[in-house]
């Protein structure tokens, strides 16, 4: 029984991690139709921001929740200004430029930090469910994922920025005619997406080894989740993460991690075959 609860918790936290690592990419793809292949490196830089701040004596929660998203959000602004903005409407070119950026950031991180940097360990100890120990940090990951979803929902649905952003997404020319500056909206959106990636990197820092090549392990999974979800940011990411992470974790428990990984990828293919435009291409159209 204790074991079953632990399994359940692994599934829930698996979903939460997948939501966190893909939501930044989902915002950028959903709102701007930009596929950011440097997304993994944005996570990586969030991780480095966190451990650098924490090792310098900043409170660890501040490092994770504040410094990581701020730093990476800022990097996102710069990237948007000098690269992404010049390539709007050119999906493939953007992908290639961001692939270049991903190599560039890996090289940069290696040059600045070397290939090994002392990391930080989980700030929360274990909790026991019966006699099974689980990391209390998993609850934190679930909480952050929930908070991000609520915050994004409020931002896009309730705030004025959200209204303008959704209008620009639907029809840039029309909103421009109404006095909105689409480039600004895009810049802000990209910065938000980057900040979310940074946050995910910060949250992951205490449970992974932060090394320059960290991003490679995440980018394909995030990409598949976002496409599987379709163009509707929140519902899409949530439902795709829910399906993929459940399949992955349960298959990993029942068999091996390889089969878990293959099951995730297999379910993505089946999903896209049944729903050729992602989950939200069929259901939940027009929501965020």
């Amino acid at each position: 029984m204790d074991y079953l609860i632990a399994v359940g918790l692994e599934v829930v936290s698996g979903i939460a991690s997948l939501v966190l690592i893909s939501i930044g990419l989902a915002v950028v793809f959903g709102m701007m139709k930009v596929i950011n292949l440097a997304h993994g490196e944005f996570l990586m830089m969030g991780g480095y921001a966190t451990i650098t701040a924490a090792n310098a004596g900043v409170n660890i929660w501040v490092s994770i929740l504040l410094i990581a998203p701020l730093v990476v959000g800022l990097i996102g602004l710069i990237v948007e200004r000098f690269v992404i903005r010049r390539l709007y409407g050119r999906v493939i070119d953007t992908m290639l430029a961001t692939w270049g950026l991903s190599l560039l950031f890996i090289g940069l991180a290696t040059t600045v930090f070397g290939n090994t940097t002392a990391g930080i360990s989980s700030p929360l100890g274990p909790v026991n469910i019966g006699h099974v120990g689980v990391s209390a940090y998993k609850f934190f990951i679930v909480a952050v994922a929930l908070a991000v979803i609520v915050a994004l929902y409020s931002l896009f649905k309730l705030s004025r920025f959200g209204l303008v952003a959704r209008a620009t997404m639907q029809n840039a020319a029309m909103s421009s005619a109404l006095g909105v500056e689409p480039p600004r909206v895009y810049a802000a959106t990209f910065a938000i997406g980057s900040a979310l990636a940074g946050l995910a990197g910060g949250v992951l820092a205490p449970i992974t080894g932060v090394v320059p090549s960290l991003g490679a392990a995440f980018v394909a999974k995030a990409f598949i989740t976002v496409i599987g979800g379709g163009s509707t940011v929140l519902v899409g990411t949530l439902s795709a993460s829910g399906i993929f992470a459940t399949v992955n974790q349960l298959a990993s428990f029942a068999t091996t991690p390889v089969i878990g990984e293959v099951a995730l990828l297999g379910s993505a293919i089946i999903l896209l075959r049944l729903l050729p435009h992602g989950i939200t291409g069929r259901f939940f159209k027009g929501r965020i």
């Binding site: 409407g89 070119d93 270049g100 190599l103 090289g107 394909a220 390889v258 293959v262 050729p276």
Partner: protein, 350 residues
Amino acid sequence: MIGSRNYWPIAAAVIAALSAIVVLPAIYDEYSLLQLTIYAILSVLALSLAFIWGYGGILSFGHAVFFGLGAYSYAIGAINFGETTIALLLSMVIPGLFAAALGYFLFYGRISDVYLGAITLTVTLIFFNLASSTSGPEYRVGRVPLGGFNGIPSIPQLNVPGFPDWTLSTTELFALSVATLALVYIGLRLLINSDFGRIVVAIKENEVRAELLGYDARKYKLVTFVIGGAIAGLAGCLFANWGGFTSPAVFALGQSVQIIIWVVVGGVGTLAGPVIGCVLIQWLTNSLASLNTVNNNLIMGGILVVVVLMLPQGLVPTIARLARGRRPVQRLDAATKGLGGASTKSEARA
């Protein structure tokens, strides 16, 4: 569009290939020949994507899957049979059949755009995962252990069909690779200029219109995809011959992205461009290996970003335009038709 002048590149390809095969082995040492051989082999791979993407409008993020299948099919066949002719055929037939199955799944499921990209990427990642986890002795095909992450080493060289003892020398492999490159180029050029080719391009330009004219877009896309897959498989076979090894890295995301980079750097919608893009990028990667002052990822990444920003149409179209005294124009979505221009569509709808 169609005229006699469209055939002169074919003559140029024949002359270039013949003179390369005759002249270069005489003036270059073994190392240079080996290097030119790998450039030629990867150029064949570049051509296969140049065709299905640039002319067929199908952008596969997992094109490496066919290359990898070709390399593995050849390796398994060659070691099992000894004589390599069947293995050579297998290296095209198996990727071709797989392309047919995958293509049927994709095109008859009406999957397109970025979703097609996601599925092809996922497929190649599945192969990567499965091939990587075959290191136990129980995973073998015939008498070939698959070797997992380490892959299959000591793959025998191609032999002249019917003569198992006449295996190709460095020079002969070079000649074969250059000849293959020329033949594939010529074949694709003829195909593009044929009725079939024009229909394929028409479907890329406007699928709905082509279908209203009575062409079954699914069928044409499928055939295009299968041809591209088989050519990529052939490149994989030559690659396995060149290095004598194959490993799951041929299925990795980086390998697929690399092919896309060659095509974009050279110019989507051309055949010569991707070949030049491939050679340039490979040469650059190889040169960076000896230059160890700055981290290589840093340089390579920087160059890619600059190329995309400065050469919006890719190398060949930009140079062609400059040569005619015109300023290069911004590439619009025409060149990104592979994604069906996700952005243009949403704008058009609104």
